[in-house]
């Protein structure tokens, strides 16, 4: 199950016929996301395994996950923005129940998910899942 916010993205994508418009959309999503404070760009928030630099900064409010993020690459920033729409506001159980691969496939963006792709979408999803799993154990 996905958030309402992500369902809106899926609906938007239905109107985008070609990959150029989809990328334009993803890039726009990234541009609209507020930048991460430099003080939060530390080793603990850095996601390794991405060709570009990626940081994810989580917080858990009331048992629900929220995270901010940033990358120095625009497409990756956009992918982070989409992940925020996919996950933000979900309970920890719900986060772990999300099939991110299937959800991104609905956008035709699953090509970014193969393990050899260097943009790190897979690494970001793994980080988000491990944050949720750890918070649940705590």
């Amino acid at each position: 199950m996905a958030t309402q916010s992500f369902e809106e993205v899926v609906e938007d994508f239905e109107f985008l016929d070609d990959w150029e418009d989809r990328y334009r959309y993803v890039i726009e999503q990234g541009k609209e996301m507020s930048p991460l404070d430099d003080a939060l760009k530390v080793p603990a928030t850095k996601v390794e395994g991405c060709a570009s630099q990626v940081w994810l900064h989580p917080r858990i409010d009331d048992g629900r996950l929220h995270f901010d993020g940033e990358s120095d690459a625009m497409i990756v920033r956009g992918l982070i923005a989409l992940l925020r729409r996919l996950y933000n506001g979900l309970t920890l159980d719900e986060v772990l129940a999300v099939d991110a691969r299937a959800e991104m496939a609905r956008l035709g963006l699953n090509e970014h998910l193969s393990s050899q792709r260097s943009n790190g979408l897979r690494a970001m999803i793994e980080r988000i899942r491990s944050i949720a799993a750890e918070a649940e154990r705590a």
Partner: protein, 406 residues
């Protein structure tokens, strides 16, 4: 007359599509595609002529050995070496330079001895020297390139001091495309008794190489960039240097006799070729070099110079694109960044959607990236089969990327 369309027909992969678009392969600096004759040679070797080399006396071993050993002569011809026994077969430039670092430099360099490198070296010609710095206190002296990306041979020679034991320099920058006047460096270094290693990983791909004319002591090449199989390569080593060298990798094939408490080694170059080599890869490399020499290395260089000139004029027309390196005679290697926030990875992602393969990253050239004040660039590197029309596709794709990221 160099007919690029005929040449292209020799490379089966060039007729495939990527993301629904005809492949425009501009990542030759990383690795080149293979002509059918090389693919056939590899298939034929495994299908009909395969056995280990230098070992058996049976028919297949003899055929494989003859074909494999024949490549030494082909490489000698390709580099105009005086004697094929100066050619050590290996897996590529990385192994070649490590062989020199471990076999020649390590036994003779003392703490405080110096090695001169240019700032535009590839990590393959940096990290082995860092080993010597870390392990035995060798000092690395760096020589900068100027604002155009040129390396002044005199600046290299001026860096020579009483403790300088080696100059290790690229023939052609894999990032800037700069061609280094290695002949001038070697002439000056020889007067001062300093050996010179030339990293020919890129240079041998794009221009005729004559190691005797250059006057270097070591010249390393990589098969997979020379349209040959991956895992093939060689280093040419001047006889006097070879005699000074200790074997680096120990094992079978490089020995004369082995007993419980003694070992004697084979004569060079075998002394530097331990273990079962890349037999089929090397046979394929021989075919690739014959293919290049068949086209004419000078003809290839002339074709690439035309492509470089055209690419330069087209890319200069994009005022939001920053090309690194403006050396006069630069090879068809263009590294660039885009105005604004787009990362080179963004750029390569969009180019890939248009079927254009480029490299994005630091290009294994950390010190040069530091020198340029960049963390990464996009690089379009052309080869013997690329065309002006492909330059146009690149430019169109760049224009789209510029529009998307604006």
């Amino acid at each position: 007359m160099y007919d690029v369309e005929t040449v292209r027909a020799d490379f089966p992969i060039l007729s495939r599509e990527v993301n629904g678009k005809p492949l425009v392969y501009l990542d030759n600096g990383a690795s080149a595609q293979k002509p059918q004759v090389v693919i056939d040679a590899v298939t034929n070797a495994y299908s009909h002529e395969y056995a280990n080399v230098h070992r058996g006396l049976h028919t297949l071993s003899n055929i494989a050995t003859e074909k494999y050993e024949g490549v030494r002569g082909i490489i000698a011809r390709f580099l105009n070496a005086a004697d094929e026994r100066e050619v050590v077969l290996n897996t590529g430039t990385t192994q070649g330079i490590n062989t020199v670092a471990y076999g020649w430099a390590m036994p003779r360099l003392e703490p405080g001895d110096e090695i001169i490198l240019s700032v535009m070296e590839h990590h393959a010609n940096i990290v082995p020297w860092h080993f010597l710095r870390e392990r035995q206190g060798v000092v690395i002296r760096w020589v900068d390139v100027d604002e155009k990306g040129d390396l002044d041979p005199q600046a290299v020679l001026d860096a020579i001091g009483p403790r300088t034991k080696l100059i290790a320099v690229t023939h052609l920058s894999n990032v800037l495309g700069t061609v280094v006047d290695v002949k001038a460096i070697c002439a000056g270094a020889r007067e001062r008794g300093v050996p010179v290693l030339v990293d020919g990983s890129q240079g041998a791909v794009h221009m005729p190489v004559d190691v005797q004319e250059i006057g270097c002591d070591f010249y390393a090449i990589t098969g997979h960039k020379l349209y040959g199989p991956s895992g093939s390569g060689a280093i040419w080593i001047r006889r006097e240097r070879m005699e000074e060298m200790r074997p680096f990798i120990g094992g079978g094939d490089m020995i004369r006799e082995v007993h419980k408490d003694s070992v004697t080694y084979a004569e060079p170059p075998m002394k530097f070729e331990a273990g079962t080599p890349g037999i089929v890869q090397t046979i394929g490399l021989g075919v690739a070099l014959n293919y290049m020499m068949g086209l004419g290395v000078a003809n290839i260089a002339a074709h690439e110079a035309r492509i470089a000139a055209y690419a330069k004029s087209r890319l200069e027309g994009l005022n939001w694109l920053h090309v690194q390196g403006r050396s006069e005679g630069k090879a068809a290697i263009f590294s660039f960044t885009l105005d604004g926030a787009a990362h080179p990875h963004d750029l390569s992602t969009i180019l890939d959607k248009k079927g254009v393969a480029v490299r994005a990253g630091h290009h294994c050239a950390g010190p040069l990236m530091d020198h340029l004040g960049l963390t990464a660039t996009c690089r379009a590197s052309f080869g013997l089969y690329n065309t002006e029309a492909e330059v146009d596709v690149l430019v169109e794709a760049l224009e789209l990327a510029h529009d998307l990221f604006a």
